[in-house]
């Protein structure tokens, strides 16, 4: 199996217009049934997060029933250790968990994208220096680092977003660097350079449109990691004490002794929500990445976050 040679196999494609970029993202998903289901699941939770305050009346934390009341018509998922309805808590949790997921992924994408593009586009010493730093941070274990920073710098939702954001950029930087390097060598970019285009124009007009779809695909994957990381941080008591997230619901179940009360309805649902969103983001992100970056198929050694979706999920004609 041979990796696609950057700049050789790619014809002189003009930089895609926005609609083409959108099509590049939409078509691999539309072709894949599993990915379509994943989009549906993610869409459902985004809807819950956005429309949450309209769906549940009043304070979700308000005590509306007895402590650990089992599921009934009134409370479809029972009540938690504070007597609040689990359904309301889950809907409220979707808002914070997805906010943390999307915002932290955006920060990671911004840092990683900038580092990757600068590194790949300028090459030379800049590249060596930036990649050395990236490699160091790739090795340092992320979860303990996040826990330490969260323990030292206070407990608010925004702190958690920033902490997750500044830790998960390394993989994005590596990926974007490789992609930028190959785009830089393409003929039309070289022609534009020969015509006297400045670096800023080359990056904005020629490199950015080519690497953006891949960056978006990677950001979708980062959302999964960020939501996962939030449950870790919050479970150790480092979350915002006043906000409700899925991570907090798992923590509550643990600290309120849902186990001793045999209240499975307080334990299971938040974890299922996390699982569904993480699964959905992983499937969407990997479907996109694989369609956009054929070299990934041979690159499973170079990344820390390896590919978990196997190749047989791809359409037959895309196999090497």
């Amino acid at each position: 199996m041979s990796p696609v040679q950057p700049g050789v196999s790619t014809p002189e494609a003009p930089p895609p217009t926005p609609s083409l970029a959108f099509r590049a993202l939409a078509s691999p998903v539309l072709r894949n049934k599993t990915a379509m289901v994943a989009v549906g699941v993610l869409g459902f939770f985004v809807f819950l997060a956005v429309a949450g305050p309209l769906l549940i009346e009043g304070d979700p934390k308000a005590q509306v029933g007895a402590v650990f009341e089992p599921p009934s018509w009134e409370f479809p998922l029972g009540t938690d250790g504070g007597g609040a309805s689990m359904v309301s808590m889950l809907v409220a949790g979707a808002r914070v968990s997805l906010l943390i997921g999307f915002a932290a992924a955006a920060i990671s994408a911004l840092i990683g994208g900038t580092v990757g593009i600068v590194s790949g586009f300028f090459g030379g010493r800049t590249d060596v220096a930036l990649m050395r730093v990236t490699d160091y941070f790739l090795v340092i274990p992320d979860v303990p680092l996040m826990i330490v920073i969260a323990a030292l710098f206070g407990r608010s939702t925004w702190n958690i977003i920033v902490i997750i954001g500044i830790i998960y950029w390394t993989f994005t930087a590596r990926l974007l660097r490789a992609q930028t390097k190959s785009v830089r060598e393409r003929v039309y970019v070289q022609r534009a350079r020969a015509l006297g285009a400045r670096n800023s124009r080359l990056v904005v007009r020629h490199v950015l449109p080519q690497v953006t779809p891949l960056l978006i695909a990677n950001t979708v994957l980062l959302i999964a990691y960020a939501i996962f990381a939030e449950t870790f941080i919050t479970f150790l008591g480092l979350g915002d004490p006043s906000s409700i997230s899925w991570g907090r619901l798992i923590e509550n179940a643990f600290t309120d002794d849902a186990i001793i009360n045999n209240a499975w309805w307080a334990v299971i649902p938040p974890g299922i929500c996390v699982m569904l969103v993480v699964l959905a983001c992983t499937i969407i992100g990997q479907t996109l990445e694989e369609a956009l970056n054929p070299r990934l198929r041979t690159g499973h050694l170079s990344v820390r976050r390896f590919r978990v979706l196997p190749r047989s999920v791809q359409p037959e004609h895309q196999k090497p």
């Binding site: 340092i140 274990p141 334990v267 699982m275 499973h300 978990v308």
Partner: protein
């Protein structure tokens, strides 16, 4: 020649990372106002202890001097003193390390064996129901927060298996009579099984998917076709020709996932009140015992760096082409 270059390069990189980790550790913990590692904000500490800390850590000197003192202390294995017990941190770390290592090792072993077995079978029977079940099972476990899986296991499986769900040993053991070596070992193992199983299952999800895709890649190679054409049994084809080659990426990935395993171990130990490094970290956070937190973090980071280096070197041993 090239091989030596590669080994030297990897070792130098590991040394560089260790240095970065130590520096990061210093910067993070000293960047807080009032110096988190010093006892100055510690309310329960005695006046003498505060004075002692001030001298020991060189808090009246510049940050640069403090950094040098920190490096020298660390080189001597001195990681400061706990703000809670005022004991040297080094002696506090020892017992939890001995508790954590066997549990994490057991969990990882379980994940590797189970992951390889299911991954290989799924790849061999690709496209069948077995394959689909393995794939979705792997993806499912991969997406589970470890602490949540721990709670679910306590809720549904622990009682059914009759295994203890907290602590590291039975407190009543040895009160009435002197327990034998075997009895103690069985007790330890019983307490280890559930946290190790939780950790193993979460990591297993990742491994089975990796093994499966590595195997799929290998089974598509020409030499597999050749071995089948020669009339070798399925067993020989899969294990002797396929699996041995697919193992290469797996070695790297197992080592690289150690960071994730350690992260998972922290929350899993908390769920099962298993007194290892993870629980020590949780307690240190709770009591703002920053020197202990700092030392535990450094320890975890160093072990991950070490295993990464080990994976790089192992990979080179099995496949010298890696330098090209």
């Amino acid at each position: 020649m090239r091989g030596t270059d590669y080994v030297v390069k990897r070792v130098l990189f590991a040394v560089g990372t260790v240095f970065v980790a130590i520096t990061l550790n210093f910067v993070l913990f000293r960047s807080l106002s009032g110096d988190a590692v010093s006892a100055l904000r510690c309310r329960g500490c005695s006046q003498e202890f505060k004075e002692f800390q001030r001298r020991e850590l060189g808090l009246d000197k510049s940050k640069w001097e403090q950094y040098k003192i920190y490096l020298v202390d660390l080189a001597h294995g001195d990681m400061g003193r706990s703000l809670r017990t005022e004991e040297p941190v080094r002696s506090i770390l020892w017992e939890p390390i001995k508790t954590t290592v066997p549990m994490v090792a057991l969990g990882t072993l379980f994940a590797i064996v189970f992951g390889i077995a299911t991954g290989v079978v799924a790849a061999w029977r690709r496209g069948t129901a077995t394959d689909k079940a393995t794939l979705w099972g792997g993806l499912g476990f991969y997406s589970m927060p470890p602490q949540w899986l721990g709670l679910v296991i306590v809720l549904f499986i622990a009682g059914w298996l009759g295994l203890p769900t907290s602590g590291v040993k039975d407190p009543t053991l040895g009160i009435l009579d002197d327990p034998g070596v075997i009895e103690v070992a069985v007790d330890r193992l019983e307490h280890m099984v559930l946290p190790a199983l939780t950790l193993g299952l979460v990591v297993f999800g990742e491994y089975t998917l990796i093994v499966r895709s590595a195997m799929l890649e290998t089974l598509g190679e020409d030499y597999i076709l050749t071995s089948r054409a020669k009339g070798l049994s399925n067993w020989a084809t899969v294990w002797k020709h396929g699996f041995r080659n697919a193992m290469l990426p797996v070695i790297t990935l197992v080592a690289l996932s150690l960071g994730f395993i350690i992260g998972g171990a922290i929350t899993v130990e908390y769920v099962f009140s298993y007194p290892g490094i993870g629980l020590l970290i949780v307690e240190a956070i709770d009591q703002r015992d920053y020197p202990v937190l700092q030392a535990a973090f450094l320890l975890l980071t160093l072990s991950v760096i070490l295993f990464n280096l080990l994976a790089d070197l192992l990979y080179f041993k099995f496949d010298p082409r890696v330098t090209e």
